[in-house]
């Protein structure tokens, strides 16, 4: 009896050794990826199933942390050397501290495909210090006007081609008892209003303005920027009732529940609107300028990227994953699963809203306050977000807001002529 038990143990051990030997030959590596997009968990898992099917030797372990805690968790983990292999990274200014801390690997040689991606996309993953790429961008959201197609049809309103038509449409909706534009930024959600300002900007200051701002030819006190702020405030009669007390979540609910006809937002709303109300009939159009054009200029930016952690133990496997994330295949899967415009052009879509946004990507200029002025505190965004509600309410003038923004960024911003 005893002998048999022993031989069983030996047999079991032999099996174990055999299995692990086979494993070594097969070298299955696990690549851990951290992301803050908790709402995309299911879709992201489906996207990476495609990769795992094609690369049986690499397992992807996706971990999600809510946006509010993500930066903290990531920076703490990186300092303690307990980070992931691949981390989702914020764009532009927020990326820099991680690069300067030496926590990330430059990707120029590891991911050659980055060189062929549009500059709008890779700009957000570029380090100021050495000009190298530190992340693979995944999406270039555009800012536009989401509109309820049923409400527009019921009131006989066509997509406005000029600002005058836009105001006329809003006026008509208001007369019909519909909230024309769901809008609110109370309780610390004023970033949503900054997006409204950023969306209107290109139609007033045009395509060259971003470079003028960067080179110091223009600044925030430029009449074109003040006109942008003024236009955002002028639309107040059409915003949600009790605008100053409405927050972002409430305003999205007004649009999702068909109580409001329009919503100023970024591409990412597409997926969340659909998820919250699958029956909602909506689409998106570029905010119109004074003159009618086929392709109005639209604000766009890079949402973020995925970077390689310097202390990762599986750099080769992780690099393989990042190369796939830079491929057209990933861009297509990303657009299909999430309904966001990807970081590469030439993605096709059978979602009409996404198709509209991909068309909008054809004529873009950087989302000024984010791409240009979120590099150091005090950022332009922090001033805009603080004062925008008071400006719309008429407590302060657009000129005052503009000069406060300029005074704030003057403390650190160096134009590059």
């Amino acid at each position: 009896m005893m002998v048999r038990a022993r031989s069983l143990v030996a047999f079991g051990a032999a099996i174990l050794v055999g299995v692990s030997a086979a494993g070594a030959a097969f070298a299955e590596e696990t690549v851990t990826i951290w992301s803050w997009r908790t709402e995309d968990e299911a879709a992201m898992n489906r996207i990476f199933d495609t990769f795992e099917a094609a690369n049986p030797d690499i397992k992807i372990n996706l971990q999600f942390t809510p946006d509010a805690d993500y930066q903290n968790r990531l920076s703490t983990a990186l300092r303690g050397g307990k980070g992931p292999d691949i981390a989702q990274l914020k764009a532009y200014g927020e990326l820099q501290p991680l690069v300067e801390g030496g926590y990330l690997e430059p990707l120029n040689d590891r991911v050659p495909a980055l060189a062929e991606m549009p500059a709008t996309a890779t700009g957000g993953a570029t380090a100021v210090s050495d000009g190298k790429f530190y992340g693979v961008p995944y999406s270039v959201p555009v800012l536009g006007v989401f509109y309820n197609t049923d409400i527009f049809a019921a009131n006989g309103i066509a997509v406005p081609k000029t600002y005058a038509e836009f105001v006329a449409a809003a006026e008509k909706l208001k007369a019909a008892g519909v909230t024309p534009i769901a809008s609110g930024g109370a309780q610390g959600s004023a970033w949503a209003l900054e997006i409204g300002v950023g969306m209107i900007g290109p139609t007033i200051y045009g395509a060259g303005f971003y470079n003028e701002m960067m080179s110091g030819k223009a600044n925030f006190e430029d009449p074109r920027y003040i006109a942008t702020l003024k236009r955002f405030a002028d639309l107040k009669p059409y915003y949600s009732e009790g605008f100053a007390g409405v927050d972002y979540t409430t305003s999205t609910q007004q649009f999702i529940n068909g109580k409001a006809a329009m919503f100023f937002g970024g591409s990412w709303e597409n997926g969340s609107f659909k998820a919250q109300n699958p029956d909602l009939k909506f689409s998106v159009f570029p905010f119109p300028g004074d003159e009618a054009t086929d392709k109005p200029l639209v604000a766009a930016f890079s949402d973020g990227s995925y970077g390689l952690v310097a202390e990762s133990q599986n750099k080769d496997a992780a690099t393989k994953v990042l190369n796939w994330m830079a491929s057209p295949e990933f861009a297509q899967r990303f657009a299909d699963e999430l309904g966001w415009p990807a970081a590469r052009p030439n993605v096709t879509s059978n979602d009409p809203v996404l198709e509209e946004m991909i068309a909008m990507q054809a004529n873009t200029t950087p989302y000024l306050s984010l791409v240009g002025f979120r590099w150091q505190a005090p950022t332009a965004s922090s001033v805009i977000q603080a004062e925008v509600i008071d400006m719309v309410e008429g407590k302060i003038t657009p000129e005052k807001l503009a000069s406060d923004v300029q005074t704030a960024v003057d403390t650190w911003f160096k134009p590059k002529p």
């Binding site: 930066q71 903290n72 920076s75 300092r79 914020k90 200014g93 927020e94 820099q96 501290p97 991680l98 300067e100 801390g101 930024g185 109370a186 309780q187 610390g188 959600s189 004023a190 970033w191 949600s240 009732e241 009790g242 605008f243 100053a244 007390g245 409405v246 409430t250 979120r374 590099w375 150091q376 505190a377 005090p378 950022t379 965004s381 922090s382 001033v383 805009i384 977000q385 603080a386 004062e387 509600i389 008071d390 309410e393 407590k395 302060i396 005074t407 704030a408 403390t411």
Partner: protein, 299 residues
């Protein structure tokens, strides 16, 4: 001597815990405030450089703005919470009937977390919310109520809500304090023809100094550490237009990079601010307690 050693042995575990979890972090942050920081990394020693930056534009605007709000908060709490609380405690002291019941009623909100209180009032005060409906029905207000989005009103709403939240505490302490005063003193005053008002100001108040001292000091510490209600109701930026910003919400933004919802941290500045706040609170509390000590009277 051996007794001394034994006593020390008993104190040691608690002292070790206190040192590890309170003193050590406190000292490291005091030490850290003397260094330059880049992102999350401590760089070179810069002495008082971070403290100097606190007093320069644009940080000075934020600091004095927030400090002003904390001072207003303290004044508001002293009047709204502690003043009215004292009044209620005095009423309860004289009305022997139902005193215990009303004390529990006053204390009920204090059992709720400020986070829950904040979320609740945020709903009540929202446009289209219950308070708006009530005011409009009574004809006191017209249209949409947007007090929380109004930079002139928001701070006062928050202070009032905070006072409502903690009203039970001064009521509890003052009632206990009044009950400790020997009843003969009030009897004698009454025989001499003193009314309730006169008795409050000449007998109750002077004898309540120890209670007033602890309530004031607690309020001072709590109002200068004010964070939770602002965070829940107005967001960490003290919206709108920094009108509800406090020293601790600003500290949070500097330390965790939430200035303009952008993850740019300024740890050096945050630690310098934390150090100043610590000094302000400790010096202020000591001065306050000593000042009240002088005012104490023995009947």
């Amino acid at each position: 001597m051996s007794r001394h050693a034994l006593a020390l042995a008993f104190v040691l575990p608690a002292l070790a815990l206190y040192g590890l979890f309170v003193l050590y972090p406190l000292l490291t942050s005091l030490w850290g405030s003397l260094f330059q920081w880049r992102g999350l990394r401590q760089m070179g020693f810069i002495g008082l450089g971070n403290f100097v930056r606190l007093f320069e534009f644009p940080n000075s605007d934020r600091m004095f703005g927030a400090l002003g709000h904390n001072v207003l908060w303290f004044v508001g709490i002293m009047v709204l919470q502690n003043g009215i609380g004292l009044f209620f405690a005095y009423l309860l002291f004289w009305s022997r009937k139902g005193a215990a019941f009303f004390q529990s009623v006053f204390f009920f909100p204090a059992m709720l977390s400020p986070v829950i209180v904040g979320a609740l009032w945020r709903l009540l005060l929202a446009p289209n919310g219950a308070v708006e409906w009530g005011l409009n029905t009574l004809g006191l207000h017209e249209g949409r109520l947007t007090v929380l989005g109004d930079s002139q009103w928001a701070l006062w709403m928050l202070i009032a809500i905070d006072a409502w939240n903690w009203m039970g505490l001064p009521v509890l302490i003052f009632t206990a304090g009044l009950r400790q005063i020997s009843y003969e003193v009030f009897e004698a005053a009454r025989l001499d023809g003193a009314g309730y008002g006169r008795m409050l100001f000449t007998i109750a108040l002077p004898l309540l100094v120890p209670s007033i001292s602890s309530v004031t000091t607690l309020s001072f510490i709590n109002t200068f550490n004010q964070f939770d209600i602002v965070y829940v109701m107005q967001g960490v930026q003290g919206n709108p237009n920094y009108s509800t910003d406090t020293l601790v919400t600003w500290f949070y933004r500097l330390a965790f990079g939430a200035e303009g919802s952008v993850g740019i941290t300024d740890i050096g500045l945050a630690l310098a601010l934390g150090t100043l706040l610590f000094l302000l609170l400790s010096v202020g509390s000591v001065l306050m307690l000593r000042g009240f000590d002088r005012l104490s009277v023995r009947p």
